[in-house]
């Protein structure tokens, strides 16, 4: 694979973009303490594709995700979910966008301890005041294998089960795109692999779009495409990655870090 020194790799696959960043820039702080987290990043996340974002600490991978998902304001450029320019939305519309079009999976599960598993799964719909699509929810629950545990509260579930609830919650609203932030970071390898399997299945079988930030090369192999970030820029891209190819690419960051 070729490493691009700067700028975005051009998308060649014929698919519709579920989300797109164009010259996306994010700057923290001002004056001397100014830090450029994202430096004019352009990238497309195509529908029904599972993309992993990788990079060393401080490369801006989480920031990219947060900006795309409307969790953080951008400093310049554009971030679109479908046809909607995220940066143009006020808080209320942005909240609705996240609620209706985006699914989230967090490293720390972030379930409400007072709600049962099922209530947690349907929470986004409850917030919207919509009736959940029962068939779809049943199927999602079936897919993630939680059928027998819907009445349990989060503290009665294992970490892997909790994260599966979180996956189901993200899927339940049929989002246009799902963002997962280190979804396996708090899980043992077996539970982690399960969760990643569900994410992949949701892409392959349900046609979902998933963007996952991870620093685990094994996790990244579940994705169809890996984007590498360094110093706020996209530096490389891999399709159909293997653990070996990802690891190799990551090692080059380390080497570069040491030599420069």
């Amino acid at each position: 694979m070729t490493a691009f020194p700067s700028g975005a790799p051009t998308a060649t696959r014929p698919a519709v973009a579920a989300a797109r960043a164009t010259d996306l820039t994010k700057v923290y702080g001002q004056g001397e303490t100014q830090v450029v987290a994202l430096d004019s990043v352009s990238v497309e996340f195509r529908q029904a594709e599972f993309t992993a974002i990788m990079g060393p600490s401080g490369s801006g991978k989480s920031t990219l995700m947060h900006c795309m998902a409307g969790l953080d304001a951008i400093s310049g450029g554009s971030a679109r979910i479908g046809d909607v320019e995220v940066s143009s939305l006020k808080d209320k519309k942005l909240t609705q966008l996240r609620r209706d079009k985006i699914g989230f999976i967090f490293q720390a599960f972030n379930l409400l301890p007072t709600l049962t598993a099922l209530e947690n799964i349907t929470l986004p719909m409850d917030i919207a005041g919509r009736k959940p699509n029962k068939e779809w929810v049943d199927m999602v629950v079936e897919t993630v294998g939680l059928s027998g545990r819907l009445k349990h509260r989060p503290n009665q579930l294992s970490g892997g089960q909790q994260q599966r609830v979180a996956v189901a919650r993200a899927l339940a609203g049929k989002p246009e795109i799902m963002f997962a932030d280190e979804p396996t970071g708090n899980l043992d390898s077996r539970s982690g692999a399960e969760v990643l399997g569900f994410l992949r299945n949701s892409v392959q079988q349900l046609g979902q779009t998933v963007v996952m930030v991870t620093h685990d090369p094994v996790a990244a192999t579940h994705a169809g495409r890996v984007i590498f970030l360094a110093d706020g820029r996209i530096v490389d891209e891999l399709y159909d990655p293997t653990a070996g190819s990802v690891l190799d690419r990551m090692k080059r960051f380390d080497a570069k870090g040491r030599t420069s």
Partner: protein, 846 residues
């Protein structure tokens, strides 16, 4: 360690502010109460202080505990005064005369709010001046047409020397010319009362009778001691009089005032205690939260080698610093509060004397001790808990969830206390009011503490009951309900603080409402007359019989009946005889007779109430020997027995017969029946007929009810004001709890925001949680208060025959609405904070 503690205090300003506020309010309340009581008692003391500097020995009428003659001991004669003046060592001798004198302002309204409307005599000594008064302008009154006014009254009424003033002593209006304006050290005047001076003869005619005095003040000549002078005077005294030294007068007065004020002071301190009690809970709750919030920090200190004792000490030092700051600011706030209470009383038009604000050293000391000691005590338990935090807690990321353990023991204790309390209160309602006080008080205390202990248990079912209502608010309502019971202890402590305030407020409202209704019933229930005419103000004595004559002549009046009383000896006991017009009284008052009727009250026939009849074993036809005030004896026949009520009881006699034996013939009141019944036109006509008199009240049934309502409402409002403090402290508790909840759940809130709950939804969630907690406390308080109100009513009922429980549903509803308002208000800041939370930081925070 001290430095760490101090840094901690300063590092968290918002947290610090909340704690300081909780302590501050508690201290402010205690010191405010003390300042208020001191100020009021000092003012009352001043108001009853007569300048004793000018009195070395005073002679006054005195009864030596014998029942030989009914009525008051006779006044002092001019002859006695003359003889006393001749005692060796006697200097200036002043005879004093005093009585009720209402002064009208230029619009015809009563001056001085009726607090104290007095009149007196100007008694010129040898030099032509009365030592008690200093005439600033004009001269002393010398004829019956002249008066002098005190300078404050003159100012308020805008009267100057030469003006004509309208005043009244016993009913009829008199027009007098102001010839002098004086200043005096008379406490009544300093306290805002009015004082009108007449020339000696006129004052005697008005108040004491010609040639008679209320008291004789003697100044000792140089070189004569008070004791010597008293010994000299003692020899001259008639049987029913005594001589007292000026020193003793002053001492007695000080004692009386102290006794009079102690009740008020105790009452106010009880409220201060309540506020303090609530404060302790809030402070303890706050420190518990502070410690919980700092678990990791404290564990880290333990991990790097701090001992348990050092951790506890650091919490206690923090408490001391907070307590000291709060105590000082609380004291200042309390002084302001005392001043505010004082002026509030003035605004409500109540009749309290004026005076400067008193801040005694006791107040300062109490404030400081309360602030520091209470805070340290309240922080002690959380401090110990802090010490028990294992060092490993520094490494774990999750806030320790509250354990459900320990609640079993807690619930058992609570159930026993509450059950025992209810049993004691119920047992108390069955006893006589004297015996019941102890079990009732004990039971009430046990019940409140029991419910207090049980609130965590009660919170679940009671808050679950709110689910149907909260469902309207969708997911925010559901989350709010669940959040409210997540930490039952904290919710309980928060709600309990509110509960205490509302228990007292509700209990008082129930009692006051019921008592008001029953007094109203007593005062006006059996009244049939259209109007009752009486002297309105404090200190007023009898109405002149002229008033009735005037009323009789007034157009539209169909009948009048007076009621006058005079002491008499009946069967060896002094008792009051009530004189009425047998012909007309039946139209004015409804009375139930078991035999006879009111119309039989003529000549030698009397009627008596059932209690008196029973005590003396009288019945219709019994002969009753009576010794009148003037010593005359006469035999009467019981013509009827009636059921006594507040308008008429005791021995009722023909007023014409009674008047013949009365020293001063005056009426307590005149009841009037008119052609058209009570209406404004008739009332105006009656008032006009009486000369638009400032001293006289013309009241119909509704006016009487309103008067009673006004008095009770004033009292109730004062109590509400005092209890409001407890509620404000409770509100702080709610704010604290919510702030803590928001802090603890910031990650959840961040997640909710991320997956699509908008700011409004978050705000609503926090507000509803606040609402649920507040209403939970309020409902508990309302229930307890209503129960106590009922129980206290059971005690009152035997002494108030017309008592019946009145549940002020409207008020109770209002309290619930207010509690809801309190909840919303308390949630403003925490809700805003929650909605402004940075999502990313919240989600990432570990």
């Amino acid at each position: 360690m001290f430095r760490t503690a101090l840094r901690n205090v300063l590092a968290h300003k918002a947290r610090l502010l909340m704690t300081v506020l909780a302590v501050l309010l508690g201290v402010a309340f205690v010191s405010g109460t003390l300042v208020f009581t001191d100020t009021i008692s000092k003012a009352y003391q001043k108001s009853s202080e007569k300048g004793f500097d000018t009195v070395d020995v005073a002679v006054r009428p005195h009864d030596k505990n014998d029942d030989a003659t009914p009525g008051d001991p006779p006044r002092l004669s001019q002859r006695l005064l003359d003889r006393v003046s001749a005692v060796p060592g006697a200097g200036t001798v002043t005879g004093t005369v005093a009585g009720y004198t209402a002064v009208a302002d230029k619009d015809g309204d009563l001056l001085g709010n009726g607090f104290s409307s007095t009149g007196g005599n100007y008694y010129p000594a040898k030099n032509g001046k009365d030592p008690r008064y200093d005439l600033g302008s004009g001269r002393a009154p010398v004829t019956a047409a002249e008066v002098a006014l005190d300078s404050r009254t003159a100012d308020r009424g805008d009267y100057r020397v030469g003006d004509t003033v309208r005043l009244s002593t016993d009913g009829p209006v008199r027009q007098k010319k102001v010839v002098g304006i004086f200043t005096t050290d008379d406490g009544n005047v300093a306290a805002g009362g009015t004082l009108t001076l007449f020339d000696n003869a006129t004052a005697q005619k008005l108040f004491t009778g010609s040639g008679q005095y209320d008291q004789i003040d003697i100044r000792a000549a140089a070189g004569t001691s008070q004791a010597t002078l008293k010994a000299g005077v003692d020899k001259l005294l008639p049987a029913r009089a005594e001589a007292v030294t000026g020193k003793k007068l002053a001492d007695d007065q000080a004692k009386d005032i102290k006794a009079g004020m102690s009740g008020l002071q105790t009452g106010l301190l009880v409220f201060a205690g309540i506020a303090l009690f609530v404060s302790i809970f809030i402070i303890a709750n706050t420190f518990t939260m502070l410690v919980a919030q700092r678990t990791r920090e404290l564990a880290l200190m333990r991990a790097v080698g701090a001992s348990r004792r050092q951790v506890t000490r650091s919490v206690l030092i923090e408490a001391t610093v907070v307590g000291s700051v709060a105590a000082v600011t609380g004291l200042l706030a309390g002084i302001g509060l005392g001043a505010a209470l004082r002026s509030l009383l003035g605004v409500t038009g109540s009749t309290v004397p004026d005076g400067p604000l008193i801040v005694s050293s006791t107040t300062v000391l109490a404030a400081l001790v309360v602030g520091v000691v209470v805070t340290v005590l309240a922080a002690w338990l959380p401090g110990r808990r802090a010490a028990k935090i294992p060092p490993i807690a520094a490494m774990s990321s999750v806030h320790t969830a509250p354990s459900g353990r320990g609640l079993v023991v807690r619930n058992t204790i609570g159930a026993i206390l509450a059950g025992g309390g209810v049993a004691l209160v119920l047992a108390g309602t069955g006893m006589s009011s004297g015996d019941a006080k102890a079990p009732m008080g004990l039971g009430a205390g046990a019940l409140v503490i029991g419910v207090f202990v049980l609130t965590p248990l009660l919170s679940r079912p009671m808050i679950a009951a709110s689910a149907p209502v909260l469902r309207v608010f969708g997911i925010a309502g559901k989350l709010a309900r669940q959040n409210a019971v997540r930490n039952p202890r904290r919710t309980a402590a928060t709600a309990s603080a509110l509960m205490i305030g509302l228990t007292l407020i509700t209990g008082l409202t129930v009692i006051a409402g019921s008592v008001q209704k029953s007094i109203d019933e007593m005062a006006a229930g059996s009244l049939r007359s259209d109007y009752v005419v009486s002297l309105g103000a404090i200190g007023a004595t009898g109405l002149s019989p002229d008033v009735e004559k005037t009323l009789k002549r007034t157009d539209g009046v169909t009948a009048t009946s007076t009621q006058r009383t005079s002491p008499a000896l009946v069967d060896g006991d002094t008792t009051a005889l009530t004189g009425v017009d047998g012909d007309t009284i039946g139209q004015m008052i409804s009375v139930d007779f078991s035999s006879g009727s009111l119309s039989e009250v003529t000549g030698n026939n009397i009627v008596v109430d059932d209690d008196t009849a029973q005590d003396n074993n009288w019945h219709a036809g019994s002969k009753v020997p009576v010794t009148f005030e003037d010593g005359a004896r006469k035999q009467f026949t019981v013509a009827g027995v009636y059921e006594g009520n507040s308008l008429l009881d005791g021995i009722v006699i023909d007023s014409a017969v009674l008047s013949a034996h009365m020293a001063d013939v005056t009426d307590n009141k005149v009841m009037v029946k008119t052609e058209d019944g009570p209406n404004q036109a008739t009332k105006d006509a009656l008032q006009k007929a009486l000369g638009d008199n400032p001293a006289i009240n013309v009241q119909d049934k509704k006016d009487i009810s309103n008067d009673i309502a006004k008095a009770i409402t004033l009292l109730l409002n004062m109590l509400y004001g005092l209890l409001a403090m407890a509620v404000i402290v409770a509100v702080l508790g709610v704010i604290n709890t919510l702030a803590m909840s928001v802090f603890e759940r910031s990650r959840e809130i961040g997640m909710l925001r991320a997956i699509g709950l908008d700011r409004k939804g978050i705000k609503r969630m926090v507000r509803l949680e606040s609402l649920v907690i507040s209403l939970f406390g309020a409902v508990l308080g309302l229930c307890l208060g209503a129960f106590f109100g009922w129980a206290a009513g059971e005690l009152i009922a035997p002494s108030l025959p017309t008592y019946e429980l009145v549940m002020p549903w409207g008020r109770l509803g209002l309290f619930l609405v207010l509690a809801a308002g309190v909840g919303m208000l308390a949630a403003v800041w925490p809700a805003r904070r929650a909605s402004k939370l940075n999502m990313l930081a919240a989600i990432k925070s570990e």
